[in-house]
């Protein structure tokens, strides 16, 4: 076997094995009606794909996750640049930020639902709450890791503080920001689904809740599979984007002297 196709072959083998185990467990009825067989789920999923409601839920989930991710990225980078650059801002905010960092979005979900209701805004708020702080923290780390020689170079050529921030500090922080976004993208998807599942926000989470409430287990697992695939897509897309933006960074360089 060629080495180049070996990873692919093993991946396929792994997926097939997982599906076979699922099928066997379901046929053996280890979980009774709660675990329908793989073949039933995929057949059900195929028919679901023809429904307009499925596509609109999918679109809501993707839309909310992406919009919240974009908001978190813009706000997180701006806040991170400020916190990282100015000592006074850092001391004023760091205690609050460190306090909020370990609070998972699910903890404030009841509050969000109470104030905003089962709405798009509620979902957006929860996702931003979950994604913003890690992006801020990584940006702060990135800003502080800017090479002092690069800063001195820019200053010695008479570049202003704002210009240095935009043209030297921000690009140096990009590897950190890239990592934060790669972690945040799948997390945004997860929180969007949780907001739908537990908070009633629109999207696939809500569809999963409805399928569960109706005892439609085949439909439920079909949606879970769709979510899994969506997660892979998000992860892949951020990886490709990161590779393109950070092509100059040591970890992505293709030409080494």
């Amino acid at each position: 076997m060629k080495p180049s196709i070996r990873p692919l072959a093993f991946s396929v083998l792994g997926i097939v094995t997982a599906l076979v185990i699922w099928q066997v467990l379901a046929e053996a009825r280890v979980a009774g009606n709660a675990l329908p067989s793989a073949t039933t789920v995929f057949a059900n999923l195929a028919s679901t794909l023809g429904l307009g409601s499925f596509w609109s839920s999918l679109a809501s989930t993707i839309g909310i996750a992406l919009l919240a991710l974009a908001l978190s990225a813009v706000a997180g980078i701006v806040i991170g640049l400020l916190v990282g650059s100015f000592e006074s801002v850092r001391y004023a905010t760091l205690a609050v930020l460190e306090f909020l960092k370990p609070v998972p979005p699910i903890v404030i979900l009841p509050l969000a639902v109470l104030v905003l209701g089962p709405t798009v805004e509620m979902s957006l708020f929860l996702v931003v709450f979950g994604c913003l702080l890690p992006i801020v923290m990584q940006t702060v780390d990135g800003v502080q890791s800017t090479d002092p020689v690069a800063r001195d170079t820019a200053r010695s050529y008479g570049m202003g503080e704002g210009e240095i921030l935009a043209r030297v500090v921000l690009p140096s922080a990009m590897p950190y920001i890239g990592t934060a976004l790669r972690v945040a993208a799948p997390a945004a998807l997860v929180v969007t689904v949780v907001a739908g599942l537990l908070g009633g926000g629109p999207g696939l989470g809500q569809s999963i809740y409805q399928a569960q409430a109706a005892g439609d287990y085949a439909g439920l697992y079909g949606l879970v599979i769709v979510l899994g695939l969506l997660g892979l897509l998000f992860q892949g897309a951020t990886r490709v984007a990161e590779r393109r933006v950070l092509h100059w960074h040591e970890s992505y360089r293709e030409v080494v002297p």
């Binding site: 020689v149 001195d152 170079t153 820019a154 200053r155 010695s156 050529y157 210009e163 043209r167 002297p257």
Partner: protein, 284 residues
Amino acid sequence: MSIRQLATLSPRPRKSSMAQQPETRISTTTPRLDVAHLAKSYGSGEKAHKVIEDLTFTVDAGEIVCIVGPSGVGKTTLLKCLAGLHPASSGRASIDGRAISGPPAEMALVFQDYNRSLMPWLTVRKNLILPLRHLRLPASELKERCDSALAAVGLSHAGNQYPWQLSGGMQQRVAIARALAYRPEILIMDEPFASVDAQTRFDLEDLCLKIRRDFNMTILVVTHDIDEAVYLADRVVVLGSRPARVLKVVDVDLPVPREQITTRSLPEFARQRTEVLSLIKRPA
């Protein structure tokens, strides 16, 4: 690279405020760069750490002055004071009589760590343009400055490459080209050739001499290499440690133009390097 290419790199026009000064300012009586009783310490009170005790020396227009001294003597601190990156604790440094309080517009700095001072996310050409953006020059002039600066260091072919795709010596030439594109009147270099191999080092030293000759630039080089200092300089400022103070300013009387093999084999070269070396080696 031809001399004609170099000739296109004329120094940038002096600022109007300087043009109004009487012509006598540029005479030998007024030094371009004047360092008077400069001192620098970090911290304050009892815990103050004195890096520079009391430095006094001058650099005349069009001169190459090398600063040598034992490592850790505070040479880099001195350059940062001259470049306006750190304020001096006492005394003063001035250009044409004006005290340096921030990065002077007529000065460019070349750091030892080219791989830290060049931006890895920018191509060579964009690295050259980065410090020029705030000057708001027309696009045609930006291009012309980049082309002539790259030609001057023999890197016309490398404009679209990234610094990390080039060898160490080439990267330091990019850093020098960036300084040239800025069209400074005073060029300050901090151990510029310490991180390259010996052959590249000779080439870069000659490049430095060529820059002075062709652009009539005033150049201050910090180095720990005594041979390099004597080879390059019109005068060598020998520093003693610590805290740093001027031991002696040695006038170098070697003929110009200098050439790596013939200059370095002159008896006079040996005599001058011995003089500098014995100053540094002498127990404090």
